[in-house]
Symmetry: C2
Subunit: 596 residues, 2 copies
């Protein structure tokens, strides 16, 4: 069985020392977000996730969810209900929600460590409350007054959960193809009919109601993506006064059998004239859905961080315990029958790869969290706007890189166990199976890459990149006299310059051939992620030096950063070469020649 202990020291370091969250939150007007309060939140989140959620992780995997075909009911794994009750009672569902909707009004960024811990402790369980955040945002920003009144408080309280109903059997990425229909009813509501698939937490036994946010087409909808509307469609009907009515005409038709996240339920949802209420403008549903999706994407990115952290902890423990062969430079523990495998350079390579990627990812994710707070609460409109542009740019990087690294991290951590990693009882293979969904749902890595290279870069003349490069240059300039940082600042500056040049190269080629966008996209995404992490590692060393942390902590940060710059950052060489090779090597082959 794999174990989990919340990495509070590193979370606090990232939040307070690197990102300066205390001062930032104060500046943004979060008067209650004092250090004492934040620390208490982190301590309590650690206690809850370590003691309540983590022990249920393998239970969810072994037993999974039950489905009653006759009733369409879903049963969650043993213990999930009790854990959810405690979650509500602890006020966790409303941690960062606005007080007027029953929330605690803490900064959005505080949801980041909370969700990292939830995902590390029990990813499958975490999927039940996950999409509620997005539902809150979509209703808050796009819903009518009565919808906000009726739906937000129960969701924020955790008494109801939310879903996103986008995908249909024949369309996922290409929502313009969707077939679900919405017919107007006499009372202003709509009758929703169609089949949605891959609905996470579409049905379960944790709450008294489930609020589906469903994409569908009105009878007069223009074709394609411009004819999609959004409807809030609850499992039990909700009147305008917020009271719950009779069961709605929707039900779970079946649940998927998956590679992992078996404690999480993935539903086929059948809507059979279900009563739904239009959210936002007719035919403008995608806009509202993107509000949910961006929140969900950062949330899935945190699943990558959580899994990676748990994988690291267990691989490290095993590597310190497992005795096998001697160090090549002579016995390190001559009184033992063999040395612990952590003495071997290649085991260290695996561990340091995970460590450097997970601690870097944590900053990538937390930074995005703070940017959302700035975008919502900064006094200055230009500052809000810039934060919004920057977080839009960083969201696909954060989602895709953190999840791709989770694939690699769970791979390397399992590999440290040798053959034992493949055996279920050690729990490492569950982490690898669970991680495998994260590069698929809420937009595959390829879709994130297209979003980054196309919508967030080509369409904005690289506005987001320019803001990020300015931030990197400001940091470099601030520390350029510091000899102890030059080993990081110098290559970071070189990479920043190269990043800008590579971007220009792609955009110039794309002016002549739009396929260049797609051809560069995934390598560009990884390139961006590795340079972003180089920035966070350089900043981590600087922040550690300036902090009150122990010498061992400071040294560990510096050594991990050195490893990162020596061993991981060079991956940018391969990605840069692939980007610069252009579209031709990808596009030359006719479809029929792929099979010869």
């Amino acid at each position: 069985m794999s174990t989990y202990k919340a990495p509070l020291t590193d979370i606090r370091f990232a939040l307070y020392d690197v990102l300066g969250a205390e001062a930032l939150f104060a500046k943004l007007g979060y008067v209650d977000a004092t250090r004492d309060v934040l620390d208490a939140v982190l301590d309590e989140a650690a206690r809850f996730t370590e003691t309540v959620l983590a022990p249920l992780n393998s239970v969810g995997d072994e037993i999974g969810c039950g489905f009653d075909k006759a009733t369409g009911d879903v049963t969650t794994p043993p213990g999930f209900q009790q854990a959810y009750t405690q979650f509500i009672e602890g006020g966790w569902t409303g941690l960062t929600a606005a007080p007027e909707h029953g929330g605690q009004g803490l900064p959005h960024a505080m949801g980041v460590p909370l969700n990292e811990m939830i995902n590390a402790a029990n990813l499958a369980w975490g999927n039940f409350p996950l999409l509620s955040h997005g539902a809150v945002e979509a209703l808050r920003q796009h819903g009518e007054d009565w919808q906000r009144e009726a739906f937000l408080k129960p969701i924020v309280d955790g008494r109801w959960t939310g879903t996103m109903c986008l995908t249909e059997p024949h369309c996922g990425t290409d929502l313009g193809l969707l077939k679900t229909r919405a017919e107007p009813n006499a009372d202003g509501s709509y009758a929703i009919s169609g089949t949605k698939i891959f609905i996470t937490a579409g049905e379960h036994d944790l709450t008294e109601n489930i609020v589906h946010l469903v994409l569908a087409k009105l009878p007069d909808a223009p074709p394609g993506a411009k004819g999609i509307s959004l409807f809030v469609t609850p499992k039990f009907k909700v009147a305008r006064d917020g009271s719950m009515g009779e069961r709605n005409a929707l039900r779970c038709g079946s649940i998927e059998h998956k590679m992992g996240i078996k404690g999480s339920v993935t539903c086929v949802m059948n809507f059979d004239g279900a009563e739904g209420y239009l959210v936002g403008e007719p035919h403008k549903g995608l806009l509202a859905m993107f509000t949910m999706m961006n929140t969900a994407r950062l949330g899935v990115g945190l699943q990558g961080v959580g899994l990676s952290e748990r994988a690291y902890q267990n691989a490290l423990r095993y590597s310190l315990d497992r005795l096998q062969t001697r160090s090549l430079s002579g016995p390190k523990f001559p009184d033992k029958p063999a040395d612990p495998i952590i003495v071997h350079p290649d085991v260290r390579r695996m561990l340091l790869t995970v460590k450097s990627l997970v601690e870097g990812s944590r900053l990538l994710a937390l930074h995005a969290g703070t940017l959302i707070d700035v975008a919502h609460h900064a006094e200055d409109a230009a500052e809000r706007e810039q934060a919004d542009v920057l977080v839009s740019f960083l969201t696909p990087i954060s989602k895709a890189c953190q999840t791709e690294w989770a694939i690699e991290n769970t791979y390397n951590a399992l590999q440290c166990f040798g053959g034992h990693g493949y055996i279920r009882e050690h729990g490492m293979e569950q982490l690898a199976r669970d991680a495998r969904i994260t590069t698929l749902y809420e937009g595959t890595t390829g879709i994130q890459a297209l979003d980054l290279m196309g919508r967030k870069t080509a369409s904005t003349k690289a506005a987001g990149l320019k803001l990020f490069l300015t931030q990197i240059e400001a940091f470099a300039k601030e520390h350029e006299g510091d000899a102890s940082l030059s080993e990081f600042i110098l290559p970071l500056r070189q990479k920043a310059t190269e990043w800008a040049a590579l971007t220009q190269g792609v955009l110039q080629r794309a002016a002549g051939n739009p396929e260049e966008i797609g051809a560069a996209s995934t390598d560009y995404l990884f390139y961006s992620g590795y340079v972003a992490l180089a920035y966070w590692w350089a900043r981590s060393v600087a922040a550690a030096e300036a902090s009150a942390h122990s010498d061992a902590f400071k040294q560990s940060k510096r050594e991990t950063a050195r490893f990162y710059f020596a061993r991981i950052l060079p991956r940018t060489l391969a990605h840069a070469a692939a980007i610069e090779s252009g579209a031709a090597p990808l596009m030359a082959m006719d479809a029929e020649r792929f099979g010869t």
Copy 2:
């Protein structure tokens, strides 16, 4: 469900056109290995694996093996017995074994396509006969006359299977620590006592006897790896006349629950004074075991090729069928509601990555197979010796790269399916789970890398590398006037030169610090694999041009090679930088700082 069709065109191309197998086999004295015979073998292997084994692949995964705790008996999944009976009846178990042991005496290299097909069709099933080959080799080379007489024919006939009993709970890589004991009996046999774990096919219901090759220590054994002896220890005792006697004192204590290869059984084997017969010299068991292990390592490498091929076929089919969004350069199939996803550059990137790695891997594996034939049958002793040195060098590259690429290939193929890839019914996630064992068993990737960098390079003054570079240079020289190949020959030569320089750099640093070997090892392994594949891709283009294949086939080879050189080979840049960064970034951190 994933499907499988044996890639006979490409297998024949690799065998006949690239490797010139017909002429080679004739030169080595395989008079029966005519083109007609070889083609018939390939056709029949395709028929057997496609129609008998492939349909049982998901059955094995869904149902797995049964275990009766009371008797220690193991039940294989439904259909596995009948398939095994057909396998024996087809004479497949003895395809490449010597006629004097009942084999068909075909070249060893012909086992390579056979095993690729078996592994693609049903990896878990393939594990039952897999280790018999190694048992045959160990007994043939190291066994006494009566042992060869008694054991070889039944194993070659497939009536008995073999196992390798190495690992114990506290030791896998470090066999010097093993605790299993062998006490001499009065009759010259030995009483074997101890517990072995991770024994593939240690118990099953396919054959009347199972022949365990067990590592154990004699009472007078010197400590460590120099005190290990090998014993053939059958499930049912075998007399010197070859007759089967009573049940031996060994049994399966439990079977493992694994991430994948669920149709294959992984046993804890308890030996309780079981009668065993010493193979080879006392205390020299590791030598005989390495004979088995090298065979098994190439066999596991082929598991990587087989899984990758199956993954590619299914990803390609899905990418041609699935309609989703339009090409960025305008609709390619305007009469359809959307374009098939193969129009998108990033989907092509994934498919071409798999295609280039799997077709390149096929040549890497087949080349190793032909080298074994040369090492055994060349007339010239120096030629035999060189082939042996070269295949020893290439074995860890072949095993580790082909399996690591199988991880990547099954990842990319699944990714082409989007969320559908995560659902069990599509069969892609089984391929990913099955692939995950291949970088662990028969020596992890890290162990292969150490074998390559230490035993096969540092200890031999890079003898194997020099032979391979000579082969590359001979090819380059042969074609240096050919303008149509210069786009490949030029970078290949550069990489060959760089490979030699990197090797020298590691060996020089290692003279001062043995940790440099381990620090460079895994990156050196990948670097080597990518350059080796560049060589095979350049040769593939040359061989295709010179062949009677269709223009489409030739063009496909050239386009895939171009993709490989543009998009995959640049990964060597990152590996070279990591190699050159040396041991310091890995070794600096004290063990206790990994947790801070």
